[in-house]
């Protein structure tokens, strides 16, 4: 099964995250990561979901059934930039620190806190690079780690903005009455 990256624009209403997650859960798929936050337009959130899926198309269509979902795309095969952030607290006694500092420089990671025997490092980059860094740093002893999950954006002019949906929100769909 292939990993897919799905980007969804949703109206920011209570329960919308539950609905999206519920729809995926229903099919028994495991969500590898999910990141949600405000988009460029007030009232609209953007989600990036990474999941192993067979028939993504069907799930994308079903996501559209949700009233608050504005747009969903499977961007797996699109030219995208992807980023993820990880915070990790390392076991870092003074003797090990120079090595750790050197590695963070190589990977462009940041040291954001230093304690008596610990360091907190922030690593941001492509998911592969973040993973690489984690693999390299793990032998020093990771005491705590938190990853944000990836966020993705299509390169160039293409992509989808939240604005177009908000503008067309006036005059809702015509109502065709059922006849008997």
């Amino acid at each position: 099964m292939k990993k897919h990256t799905i980007v969804a624009l949703v109206q920011d209403r209570p329960g919308v995250l539950s609905r999206v997650v519920g729809l995926i859960r229903r099919r028994g798929f495991n969500i590898e990561s999910l990141a949600v936050g405000h988009s460029e337009t007030p009232g609209v959130s953007r989600m990036t979901i990474v999941v192993e899926w067979e028939d993504v198309e069907q799930v994308v269509k079903q996501l559209y059934r949700l009233i608050e979902v504005l747009k969903v795309s499977d961007v797996t095969n699109d030219p995208i930039v992807e980023r993820e952030m990880a915070l990790m607290k390392l076991h870092a006694p003074p003797a090990k620190r120079p090595e750790i500092v050197a590695l963070t420089e190589v990977f462009d990671a940041k040291i954001i806190d230093v304690g008596a025997n610990t360091m907190v490092i922030e690593m941001t980059g492509s998911p592969a690079k973040v993973q690489n860094f984690i693999d390299v740093i793990r032998p020093y002893g990771i005491k705590e780690m938190m990853r944000t999950g990836r966020i993705a954006m299509v390169r160039g002019a293409r992509g989808h903005t939240a604005e177009e949906f908000v503008e067309s929100a006036n005059g809702h769909a015509e109502r065709v009455p059922a006849m008997n």
Binding site: V10, Q11, P14, G15, S18, R19, G22, L23, R26, E57, Q58, K61, Q62, Y64, R65, L66, I67, E68, V69, L70, F165, V166, S168, A169, N170, H172, A173, E174, R175, V176, A178, M179, N180
Partner: protein
């Protein structure tokens, strides 16, 4: 001028503004303010007190299915709300527009396990088209408007509104100046004409075309358009379980029901056809059997209002996302005007129809089990009940039939002649036993001038028959119940007979004396044990000015044939029991 109102009054006014006239429900602590307010509006808003919230939900469904209008059901928080769940799920599966209103504990104790608190919006998230938790009275006008709009437009479905008790009690000046803000909900009604022309090309070049007419025809009111389309093209028409009534069965182009208990000639025709035009059906697995083997030679044209149905189970050549009626109108407009263009199609279609009728002549009478030697030994074969009932329905007219789930349901679909939309109402997608009696309550209120027949099994009847009391309390006289009493959970027993070596585990079923039970509910009860009594009993039911139950004690171990075993190809039909008794 807007005046001050309680949230509960706002709820009543919102319903009235949206044309609601009847509601089915049961009160309780968290919904009491709504009941308090409802009293003032009782001239416009009729409340029907049910005996179980599941019954209220099915009654709302019956009302909606009989009319196409919104059905409304009400429950209190906690158990009242959870009792609605089965009916809500049923409405979701059968695209039935209902609004469920539930009371919720006060907003200050939400999430604190207050008395009778249940997270009903969480529970019903996957079985509603949409749902709401309302904590502020100010939000009620908008939420009711949006909820009803969502329930009744596009592909209809159930919507639930959970209202906290304090929101019902609060006093506000309602703002009825409502502008819906639904950027993510824009059902597409009008078909893409390019696709329509593509489909027409395919149809005109077909040699063995078929139409499958589904629930969408009935919901969109496309019966006349379907008929015009079929007559123009002369393509044979199949009606699914929920498509029953979309096309009259006495029409020369009607060929009947497909699928698990469909007719042999219909399933064979599907397997042979080269163009399959499905309008408003969703290729349910009870229709397709094993989907990968379904209609192997066909190019499929699929019209559905819900894009997520297209390509879900069956590969589609020409997808058309649209309302069935508007789509068919577009086809009729886009057809070439000259008769010549149809000449070739008509000549192929007539050969094709001849072939289908030959298959039908060979298989159908036997499948109906009407002439079989062993039915002659039975004192009351179920088929005799259906034959007499069909005769009565046809001669008396003005009827609605509500069926439950099981063998009796399939026999009803097979053996009664169906002509008109919304005359056959059943639980299809969910297959909810216990649907029929409460649904008939809703149908009877919606259609006071029709005789509403319930056909149910002894199993399903015992799940929800307490609504017989509701029917009496409401003064409803036009409901007649036919219990096809075989002393078994018959459909399950049939599977056990055919596939599990007659191990009747958990299927033999006893019951009370149903006629006496009916009498206890102040109904007329009649018991029928022999074919010779059937017609008279039905006659008596019609002549009685009030609700009547007939307990048809039919032969116990009769099967529904033909049958496609689950997950087998529809080419593999079983026509009779391998076990000879």
């Amino acid at each position: 001028m807007s005046e001050k109102r309680t949230g509960a009054q706002v709820m009543c006014e919102a319903l009235i503004r949206n044309g609601v006239e009847v509601m089915f429900g049961i009160p309780g602590g968290a919904i009491m303010p709504f009941y308090y307010a409802m009293w003032e509006y009782r001239d416009k808003l009729r409340h029907v007190l049910c005996r179980h919230e599941q019954g209220a939900g099915h009654a709302a469904e019956g009302y909606a299915r009989a009319t196409g209008r919104l059905g409304v059901c009400i429950g209190t928080s906690g158990p009242g709300a959870t009792n609605l769940v089965t009916a809500i799920a049923d409405a979701m599966m059968d695209s039935t527009p209902i609004l469920a209103i539930t009371g919720q504990v006060g907003s200050h104790v939400l999430g604190k396990d207050a008395f009778q608190e249940t997270d009903i919006t969480g529970i019903t998230m996957p079985i509603t088209k949409h749902n709401y938790l309302v904590k502020r009275a100010e939000d009620l006008p908008y939420v009711f408007e949006e909820a009803i709009y969502i329930a009744t437009t596009g592909r209809p479905g159930p919507v639930l509104i959970d209202v906290t008790k304090d929101a019902q009690q609060a006093t506000i000046v309602p703002d009825w100046n409502i502008k819906l803000d639904l950027p993510g909900y824009k059902p597409n009604y009008r078909p893409n004409l390019k696709q329509v022309r593509e489909a027409i090309k395919l149809i005109l070049s077909a040699k063995k075309p078929l139409i499958i007419a589904g629930h969408g025809i009935i919901m969109s009111g496309a019966v006349d358009e379907l008929r015009a389309f079929a007559e123009r093209t002369r393509i044979p028409v199949i009606t699914t379980l929920h498509g029953i009534g979309a096309f009259p069965e006495d029409h020369p182009l009607s060929i009947g029901m497909p699928g698990m208990h469909g007719w042999v000639h219909v399933n064979r025709a599907i397997q042979e056809c080269d163009v399959l035009f499905n309008i408003g059906g969703r290729f349910d697995d009870r229709v397709t059997g094993k989907a990968s083997t379904f209609a192997p030679n066909a190019k499929v044209i699929h019209v559905d209002i819900d894009p997520s149905e297209i390509g879900k189970n069956v590969k589609v050549t020409v997808p058309i996302v649209a309302d069935a009626r508007l789509a068919l109108q577009a086809f009729l407009n886009e057809f070439p005007p000259d008769r010549e263009a149809f000449a070739e199609l008509h000549s192929h279609a007539s050969d094709w129809m001849e072939h289908i009728r030959e298959m039908q002549a060979k298989h159908q009478p036997k499948q109906q089990y009407l002439n079989r030697a062993d039915t002659e030994k039975m004192s009351l074969p179920p088929h005799d009940v259906y034959a007499a009932l069909t005769k009565a329905l046809n001669s008396r007219g003005n009827y609605r039939v509500v069926t439950d789930v099981g063998q009796h349901q399939m026999w009803a679909a097979q053996l009664i002649d169906w002509y008109r939309p919304r005359t056959h109402i059943t639980s299809g997608g969910a297959g909810t036993m216990g649907f029929a009696v409460p649904a008939a309550l809703g149908v009877a209120i919606a259609c006071p001038n029709d005789t509403v027949w319930v056909i149910c099994g002894d199993g399903g009847f015992q799940m929800t028959n307490q609504e017989m009391a509701t029917i009496v309390q409401e003064g409803i006289k036009n409901v007649k119940i036919a219990v096809i009493n075989n002393g078994y959970l018959g459909m399950v027993r049939q599977w056990q007979e055919l596939f599990e070596n007659k191990r009747y585990s958990g299927t033999p079923l006893s019951g009370p004396d149903f006629a006496k039970l009916a009498e206890a509910y102040y109904w007329k009860g009649i018991t029928v044990e022999h074919t010779s009594q059937v017609e008279a009993a039905i006659e008596e039911a019609y002549e009685t000015d009030g609700p009547v139950l007939i307990d048809f004690r039919v032969e116990r171990e009769v099967n529904v044939f033909p049958m496609v075993p689950q997950n087998k190809s529809i080419s593999e039909m079983i026509l009779e029991s391998p076990h000879k008794s």
